[in-house]
Symmetry: C2
Subunit: 228 residues, 2 copies
């Protein structure tokens, strides 16, 4: 069985991505981060999803991105609660965490190299997304090219590291439908940027809005609770 490292936040996208990797018969190693996010509740969701899918191993790393500040997801800056109807593609929201996916993928690269895997899965998508620069296909391609120069694999072997982005061209609706087809239990996933202390989703942040809109376009009922 081929090995794959998957970045798992416990959200709708990364959990669907995990289900896709499993459906393609990868032996999955999950990687999650406590990075000082407001919504650390998602770590519990990541653990549950990792267990449900019988991943080979689940590493949870502590890295404190608050050391640099600069994002509503890690700082005391308020998480915006009113979503614009259409997201202008050239505007980067305040919830953007500087270089977050680059840091996450770098650790995934270290993990992949250590377990001798040539596969990394990341659930980014560039359609119904929050407008972060590090979710775009051209960024992912560039990271992949860099990775193949960074590691032993790139130097010693013919084999090349591949970054799999099975969701990148899908709408939120299509992601949910794909997940349901693969039997994903979305009640175990967590998307909200700013949940209440019991973990109930706010229903108003970017992540909640994209999720709610996505479910609305399917015939499927979102099984999680929202405050609004």
């Amino acid at each position: 069985m081929k090995k794959a490292v998957i970045l798992l936040s416990g959200g709708l996208d990364s959990t669907t991505c995990l289900a896709i990797a499993k459906s393609k018969n990868y032996n999955v190693y999950a990687l999650s981060f406590r990075y000082g996010q407001r919504h650390e509740f998602e770590i519990g969701a990541a653990k549950e999803c990792a267990q449900l899918y019988h991943v080979e191993d689940h590493v949870i790393l502590d890295i404190d991105l608050r050391s640099f500040g600069g994002s509503a997801l890690t700082d005391n800056i308020e998480v915006p609660k009113k979503r614009k109807e259409s997201i202008p593609r050239d505007e980067i929201p305040i919830t953007y965490v500087p270089a977050r996916n680059t840091i996450f993928l770098s650790f995934a690269l270290a993990y992949a190299e250590t377990i001798k895997s040539q596969n990394i899965f990341i659930g980014v998508n560039a359609l119904d997304y929050s407008g972060y620069p590090d979710c775009r296909p051209e960024y992912i391609k560039s990271f992949e090219a860099m990775s193949n120069l960074a590691t032993k694999a790139g130097v010693e072997e013919e084999s090349q590291l591949k970054i799999h982005t099975p969701l990148i061209d899908l709408s939120k609706k299509e992601i949910i439908e794909k997940g349901v087809e693969l039997g994903v239990d979305y009640s175990k996933t967590h998307s909200c940027y700013d949940p209440d202390p019991t973990g109930i989703s706010c229903g108003l942040c970017d992540a909640c809005s994209l999720r709610k809109e996505g479910f609305k376009k399917t015939n499927i009922v979102d099984p999680i609770q929202y405050a609004i």
Copy 2:
């Protein structure tokens, strides 16, 4: 004054790189890591060097690269103590830490983005070096290209992030001569991969060997103590 982030280990190379950045009138923000290295003694050296050069700020991050294992610098694997006379360029030593520079540069990128700097300095060199893939010029170029797709700067502005590698084409001898010219106090720097508990360098590991050979080729006496 232009701002720059510098990766500072407190070793000979990164300290010389810091002196070069200062000589070019950059306002320097230093970044160091506790990553589970055997030679955590270097953090003390990094602090001293940062103070000596009056850096604007010095962030020390804790990241545990031992979570993945796989290197003599972080694991219980023995640090090799007999240096080959010539280093074959296609052989990667056991002291290589998977994706280390990629992880370090990713955090530097986050830091640079947060303080709105377009400059990162890293003291890699590809001549008298340990043969790590992530020290090669083609790797650095590729990381720079990726960075410019990863961040707000790459999307919103004309300005491009630059990764400065002032040592990349220099021999160890030339690095030391450059440093001395700039007034670097090498007694404050620490290079050894496997120092004794009091911080005295082993004199036999790769890092010690490269340093000793470098000083031998100059007329300068290495001011640090070696066990052998």
